[in-house]
């Protein structure tokens, strides 16, 4: 077992055991409090540019399987944990976490006091950091950290978006979405069966700012023919595809670094096409509506975030992963209704337009990983498209 060194911008240096790839990596360090779903988190493109610290004690227990990827490859820059599992134990597993990361060039460190690091990030805010699993001395790592520009104002999306538009027809992991969707009480049962049988699928254009597969699985399984388009697709190009609705995906980094996307979203809103945004997509809608976005101290990253649906008072436990947030002060209350707020810090978690078929949420209704409480939002999107035919 070789050793690994983790250096934080504030000068903190920790040594632990290396796993995954032998390399150096520099990133923004965030912590995630989910107790399950490391595979989904590691493959979530929204983590581009970030190293993820898992607060859960043991990571790697269930290995890596073929169904739970959120994108084609690991997206994080590094993985930090307290204890790496010495073994893989799950009926679906096909690889161990360390082998899988190693083959894909991602370094990891295990055996460090993650709680101590979490305290640091919580109290001092998110930090830049660097990890070496190939013996780079701490001073050099700190230098790497100092030289790294960070994520603020940067366009991270261009690193993860698709190069060309494509029709989505993936299937891995879909059965899990199907299982959830068939639950009684899921508000959207009516959409898919008919549509699939009759072939009358709704045409959804999904902007890929770093889209999670489980969003695509949901859109398809609710009865959409999904075309994924690159982040820099203009509104005119998107509308030329005659969509029944446009979806704005999650993605990495600072929404302020994406003026082209904000411009496209502004036009899409004006066009009257049904529009649904998640996470970064939500932030882009916020900016398109004239609101500022700001950086949260240490972000929301986890699967236990309570949000309140303000019209009903109901609480949903949601998966969240964001460092930036829409500032509600700049939103025009005649135009915009705030629909969800965080019960942890009262930050804005969702909005809808009063006179346009547009809504968005900061949290992740597609979960993966996380609770399925908010899954019905996909149904709402489909209802909105039905009510506002192209």
């Amino acid at each position: 077992m070789t050793f690994a060194t983790l250096a934080l911008a504030d000068g903190t240096v920790l040594t632990g055991q290396a796993f995954g790839a032998e390399t150096d990596s520099v990133f923004e360090l965030v912590f995630n409090t989910s107790m399950t779903g490391y595979q989904e988190i590691i493959t979530d493109p929204s983590y581009r540019g970030q190293g993820v610290l898992f607060t859960a004690s043991h990571i790697g227990n269930v290995g890596i399987n073929l169904e739970d990827d959120e994108s084609a490859a690991p997206q994080v820059s590094a993985v930090v944990m307290r204890a790496l599992s010495p073994v893989v134990s799950n009926w679906r597993a096909s690889a161990s976490l360390t082998d899988w990361l190693g083959q894909r060039g991602i370094p990891g460190i295990s055996g460090v006091d993650t709680r101590f690091l979490t305290h640091k990030l919580r109290d001092g805010g998110t930090q830049k950091a660097a990890l070496s699993t190939c013996g780079t001395p701490p001073e050099k790592l700190l230098q790497l950290v100092r030289d790294w520009p960070g994520l603020d104002g940067r366009d991270m999306v261009k690193e993860v978006t698709c190069a060309e538009p494509y029709r989505w027809n993936g299937d891995e992991g879909n059965r899990w979405v199907e299982n959830v969707k068939r639950l009684p009480g899921s508000s959207v049962d009516q959409f898919k069966p008919d549509n699939r049988k009759t072939g009358k699928l709704l045409n959804v254009i999904a902007y890929d700012f770093g889209i999670k597969e489980n969003i695509l699985r949901h859109l398809a399984s609710y009865g959409a023919d999904v075309t994924v388009v690159p982040a820099d697709t203009s509104a005119a190009e998107a509308l030329a595809l005659h969509p029944d609705g446009v979806f704005l995906s999650n993605g990495p980094g600072d929404p302020a670094g994406l003026p082209y996307a904000v411009a496209a979203v502004r036009e899409l809103i004006a066009s009257g096409v049904p529009l649904f945004g998640i996470c970064l997509g939500h932030q882009l809608i916020g900016r398109a509506l004239g609101a500022a976005t700001y950086r949260l101290k240490f972000g929301h990253h986890g699967g236990n975030h309570p949000v309140q649906h303000l019209p009903s008072g109901n609480v949903l436990i949601t998966a969240q992963n964001h460092n930036y947030c829409v500032s509600p002060a700049d939103l025009n209350p005649d135009e915009v209704e705030i629909t969800y707020k965080s019960l942890n810090d009262d930050s804005l978690e969702g909005l809808r337009l009063k006179n346009k078929p547009v809504f968005s949420v900061q949290f992740h209704p597609e979960a993966a990983p996380g609770p399925h409480d908010a899954q019905r939002l996909f149904g709402e999107f489909f209802q909105m498209m039905k009510a506002n035919p192209a």
Partner: protein
């Protein structure tokens, strides 16, 4: 906002507790109930509490507005409802007992009659969850997967079902009692006979076939739901023992470790649907799942629509107070309206995230029940449990093992004085779940058996075995440390030592491992010193519900070996209270009660109180009982760690029973200030030679006695003293291995047992006082003055362990003169020993002689009972004395007057532990107690029997079977019953004896004489009362069957003449006058 607001019509809420501690329903309900009541009172409700168990904190008169220590029966509850006029009944915090009561009170119309609303659970939900078939139907209707199966009326139907379930399958007789007609079918050839047998045994001629889920992984989710349909999972729990072992007997870990998110969310979604399907509108529930490890298929096994043992564990594991929140949800609050106390800035509407691992290990007491099948299965057999927290699974596991207090400090089952077994483990043996299987599994890992094969044999997930393998690697490296290149000072060794500590290895185990490599002796304290010199020091982490995402306000701490310490001790004057550890027979909730009282009293005095315990079932480990809570093993190593961090001005070791007392001298040797009575005085009282000398010096009589360290010495002493003799090992609890020896032929066997129970300790031999009564005294002493708290008289004769004997306060058969002597001796002893705090003295009264049997200068099992009966809070006062107050300053200078009679009755676990001998003896075997009180003895005794579950009949028939020695006593009993119109049955010998004095009785065969016999009479319900005296020199062979049948049928069984006499008084009282129910508050008001 469309919040449902709290129901403003509700002002008074009736909360039933769970009654006596029994296997499967223990102290966790004192924890839950107390928490719920405190929360509701704080919210402004008036609380009427009913619980027959006086050892609970919840029955402290300060906790509720009206506290009824009364039987938990529909009759008593109806009377209390009529008196107190509650608006609502909360049945979800008192275990199965409270749910059953709620069902009964609603079925008999009482709730409707008095307009009492059921809150927290509705009737339909209780039924749907409790009735196995209805539950299954409810699940199937909602599309929720359950084990495959179905009903068959013939072989053809059975074959059709088995095509779905596959082999092996369980075949049961529908609606048959107690599992008769059930069998496992492994192959088609076995099916016809199994089905035939099941149909034959079934009253409705139906066989029930079900797929086997044995060996599947078992999970539990602790969940909450509010009236607005908000739903949260508080904790996921994974059982290490696969399906087939009761979850209460399983090792469990939280959070679940071997599920992907996809799979975990399936469980979460299902749990939510189960609650909806069952109809749980508000509160906490527990849903149990089986998961096929090969395919991931999930089935729902069962659910409990109430707080449970698991929810108590989940509360302690996460810091989320389920019972408190459940109570607030029951009165209409929603999760988003309730603050999370731990963070102070977030709401209860969230799901805790853990950055540590929690391990629970059950504690069994098979050594007290020879003859009981010690294989673990669907019937829970453990009597307590420990919980430990660590940053990783190995750390939590090792700490949990150290918490068990079974002399073991390591995963191989070894300990400072225990060698691991050397025989090689076989896979076949690992299939059998037993109390020590964990250790055997580890030894199999160490032996090098392939992990996959071990996993297949024992059902533990591979992941847990791989963790054990990692622990074994460290163990091996530690054993192979060599002394070259600086040896123990070198860097590699330091790293290894740190890794071992991070894995939770005890210093004592490390000492043993190093000894095997260096061949020089290291003690645990030397390892400690070495570790400290190398800078390997523990850190304390906070349980914060949120994996450090928010600042924790509540100092609920566990130790680890991490980088940053979060203890942040204050500079206040603080006192550390050491708790009692796992519940077991002889050391239970009574001691937890005392520890809590100490915390309350010392907080009130302005000290910062620090609670230290490892038992998740307790009130003491509720995060707001003391100012700070350390959830840690009660071992010298861990206690010293906390003391070094906190630097308390004193430590209380006298309230938590034997566990902390065993640490007292070592703590004192380490320079720790012990409050109250000095450890040397406590040790003096335990040391029979010194104690004998003290009694002689004080001119206090004692039974003839001797001490033996070998069988030879025992023989000589017994001959000198004269048989029968009582023998017992020293420094044990609950009369462990204590026995009444009638003759020399029995002596060797018992001496052997005693030597095994307490190796290296002397064995005490006392003359057995036949026909004597025992008297228990609890007293307070401030080293200047003794104040008697209570004088209690045992109802059973001497020879029955005081914990198993019924007792009455005030004594009803002890003269004022003898009571004066008892007081005087108590005072002499208290002053001589320099007691500061509590003391308990046991006396025997034989004829005119009062002798002292033993003195315990510490909290005793009877303290809560005595406090409830007298209104004098003994433990609360004692804690203040220990902190320096005098009795005069506390205004306590006189023995309290007792209004009426208070009877404490013991509750025994014979029904749960089939095969156990049911005869009471000097070894304590009861798990719990109840109290009955009334203005006269008869009614008080009657209530105690009702509360214990054996209500005495007012009429009917009785079976009398007494040995020759007891015939004249039996005669009195028979005559009294006959006068009251009872029909009498008796064995032939007894019948003849009775007929001689003109008492008619119908003769009945002994069991061995064939049907119809005594046991038939009991089984078919002909008799409602049984007197069977097995004691004395001529115990009957017939007795065991009679007693077993009576226990199985819940028919009151009297095994001593004095109990029979008390029963007569009770029956007479019941026939004369109805029972009355009074709250403690009204009682004490009257007394003032």
């Amino acid at each position: 906002m469309s919040h449902v607001h709290p129901d403003t019509r509700i002002k008074t809420i009736l909360v039933p507790g769970s009654g006596a501690i029994v296997i499967g329903q223990a102290a966790e309900f004192d924890y839950s109930g107390t928490q719920a009541v405190k929360a509701l009172r704080k919210a402004g409700y008036r609380i009427v509490l009913v619980n027959s168990n006086p050892a609970t904190i919840m029955t402290d008169p300060e906790i509720a507005d009206a506290t009824y220590i009364e039987p938990l029966t529909p009759e008593a509850l109806e009377a209390i409802i009529a008196q107190e006029k509650p608006d609502a009944l909360l049945p979800t915090v008192g275990g199965q007992t409270a749910l059953n009561l709620a069902l009964a009170l609603s079925e008999n119309g009482v709730l409707e009659k008095y307009g009492v609303q059921l809150i927290g659970a509705n009737l339909a939900a209780i039924r749907a969850a409790e009735d196995r078939l209805l539950f299954r139907e409810t699940m199937k209707k909602a599309g929720i997967p359950v084990p495959r199966g179905g009903a068959a009326h013939n072989l053809a139907e059975a074959e059709k079902i088995i095509a779905e379930t596959g082999y092996p399958a369980l075949v049961r007789a529908s609606f048959a009692m107690g599992g008769s007609g059930a069998s496992w079918v492994y192959e088609p050839a076995q099916l016809p006979e199994a089905v035939r047998q099941a149909i034959a045994e079934s009253p409705i001629r139906q066989a029930w076939l079900e797929e086997s889920v044995l060996g599947w992984k078992e999970y539990e989710l602790e969940v909450m739901r509010d009236r607005a349909d908000n739903f949260v999972v508080i904790c996921s729990i994974e059982n290490l023992d696969a399906m087939g072992v009761h979850t209460g007997d399983s090792l469990t870990v939280a959070p679940a470790q071997t599920l992907t998110d996809r799979e975990y969310q399936v469980l979460r979604d299902l749990a939510k649907r189960v609650l909806t399907a069952v109809g749980v509108e508000t509160g906490g529930s527990n849903v149990q799942f089986g998961v096929n490890p090969k395919t991931g298929r999930v089935v729902v096994i069962e659910m409990n629509p109430r707080v449970s043992r698991s929810s108590a564990l989940a509360s302690k594991a996460t810091g989320f107070p389920i019972a408190k929140i459940a109570a607030l949800l029951a009165v209409g609050h929603t999760l988003d309206e309730i603050a999370n106390d731990i963070t102070g800035q977030t709401q209860a509407a969230f799901e805790p995230s853990l950055d540590y691992v929690v391990v629970k290990i059950p504690r069994w007491a098979f050594e007290k029940f020879p003859g009981v099948d010690a294989t673990l299965g669907p019937q829970m057999k453990s009597v307590g449990e420990v919980m430990a927290l660590g940053r990783t699974f190995p750390e939590a596991l090792n700490k949990a093992i150290q918490s068990l207090e079974i002399g073991v400090d390591a995963l191989d089952g070894s300990g400072p004085s225990l060698q691991p077994l050397s025989a090689p483990e076989t896979l076949a043996a690992l299939k059998v779940p037993t109390a020590d299987r964990l250790f055997r599994i580890y030894r199999a890992v160490r032996q090098g058996l392939p992990l996959e094969e071990i996993s297949a044999a024992c059902g533990y997930d591979l992941w847990f075995l791989a963790q054990m393998k990692e622990m074994q690697n460290v163990e091996r490296r530690m054993q192979n440390v060599t002394n070259d290149e600086g040896g123990m000072q070198n860097r590699e060794f330091k790293n290894l030592l740190r890794v071992a500590k991070q894995m939770g290895f005890a210093d004592s185990q490390i000492a043993r491992l190093l000894n095997s490599s260096f061949h020089i002796h290291h003690s645990a304290l030397e390892v400690r010193a070495l570790r400290r010199s190398l800078g390997i020091l523990p850190t304390f982490q906070r349980v914060d519900t949120c994996a450090a995402e928010f600042e924790a306000q509540t100092p609920y701490l566990y130790s680890a070996y991490e980088q940053a310490d979060e203890a942040r001790p204050t500079d206040r004057q603080k006192i550390l209270i050491l708790g009692g550890g796992p519940n077991r027979i002889g050391q239970g909730i009574e001691f937890d009660y005392c520890c809590c009282q100490a915390a309350f009293a010392l907080s009130k005095m302005g000290y910062e109180t620090i609670m230290y315990n490892c038992n998740p079932e307790t009130v003491s480990t509720d995060y707001d009982t003391a100012d700070r809570l350390y959830f840690e093993p009660l071992t010298l190593e861990h206690v010293l760690n906390v003391i070094e961090t906190e630097k308390p001005i004193g430590v209380i070791v006298q309230f938590g029973g034997q566990t902390p007392l065993n640490l007292a001298e070592k703590l004192q040797a380490a320079g720790v200030p012990i409050l109250g009575t000095s450890p040397s005085a406590i040790a003096l009282a335990e040391d029979r030679e010194q104690f004998s000398a003290l009694l002689s010096q004080l001119e206090i009589p004692q039974p003839e006695n001797g001490i033996a360290r070998s069988l030879e010495e025992a023989r000589a002493a017994a001959v000198r003293i004269g048989y029968p003799v009582l023998i017992r090992p020293s420094f044990v609890l609950g009369g462990r291995a204590m026995a009444l020896v009638q003759s020399e032929s029995q002596l060797a066997g018992f001496i052997q047992q005693a030597m095994e129970a307490a190796p290296g300790q002397p064995i005490l031999i006392d003359r057995f006082m036949e026909d004597a009564f025992e008297i228990d005294v609890d007293a307070l002493c401030d080293s200047q003055r003794v104040v008697i708290g209570a004088i209690m008289q045992h109802i059973e004769e001497a020879g029955v362990h005081s914990g198993d004997a019924a007792c009455v306060l005030p004594p009803y058969k002890v003269s004022a003169y003898h009571q004066m002597i008892v007081r005087e001796y108590t005072e002499r002893l208290g002053l001589a020993l320099g007691v500061r705090g509590l003391m308990n003295v046991q006396f025997a009264l034989q004829g005119e002689a009062v002798v002292v049997l033993e003195v315990n200068p510490r909290a005793s099992r009877t303290v809560p009972f005595a406090s409830k009966a007298t209104g004098l809070n003994l433990a609360y006062l004692a804690a203040q004395i220990m902190a320096g107050k005098t009795l005069a300053e506390l205004g306590v200078t006189e023995e309290p007057r007792v209004d009426g009679f208070f009877v404490k009755e013991a509750v025994l676990p014979f029904k749960k532990l089939a095969g156990s001998s049911t005869v009471l003896g000097p070894e304590m075997r009861s798990t719990g107690e109840v109290m009955g009180h009334a203005s006269n003895f008869g009614h008080a005794f009657a209530k105690s029997q009702i509360a214990a579950g054996w209500g005495l009949p007012e009429s009917g028939a009785a079976l009398i079977s007494v040995n020759d020695y007891d015939k004249s006593g039996g005669l009195r009993f028979a005559r009294e019953l006959q006068r009251m119109g009872f029909k009498l049955f008796a064995t032939r010998g007894t019948t003849e004896f009775l007929s001689k004095v003109g008492i008619p009785a119908e003769a009945v065969n002994k069991f061995v004489e064939g049907s119809p016999h005594t046991v038939d009479l009991i089984r078919n319900g002909t008799v409602q009362l049984v007197l069977n005296t097995p004691f004395g020199p001529n115990a009957q062979a017939d007795g065991a069957e009679i007693r077993a049948a009576a226990i199985a049928m819940d028919i009151p069984l009297l095994t001593t003449l004095s109990a029979a006499e008390a029963a007569i008084a009770a029956i007479r009282a019941l026939r004369q006058k109805e029972l009355k129910y009074r709250s403690l508050q009204s009682l004490f008001r009257n007394a003032e």
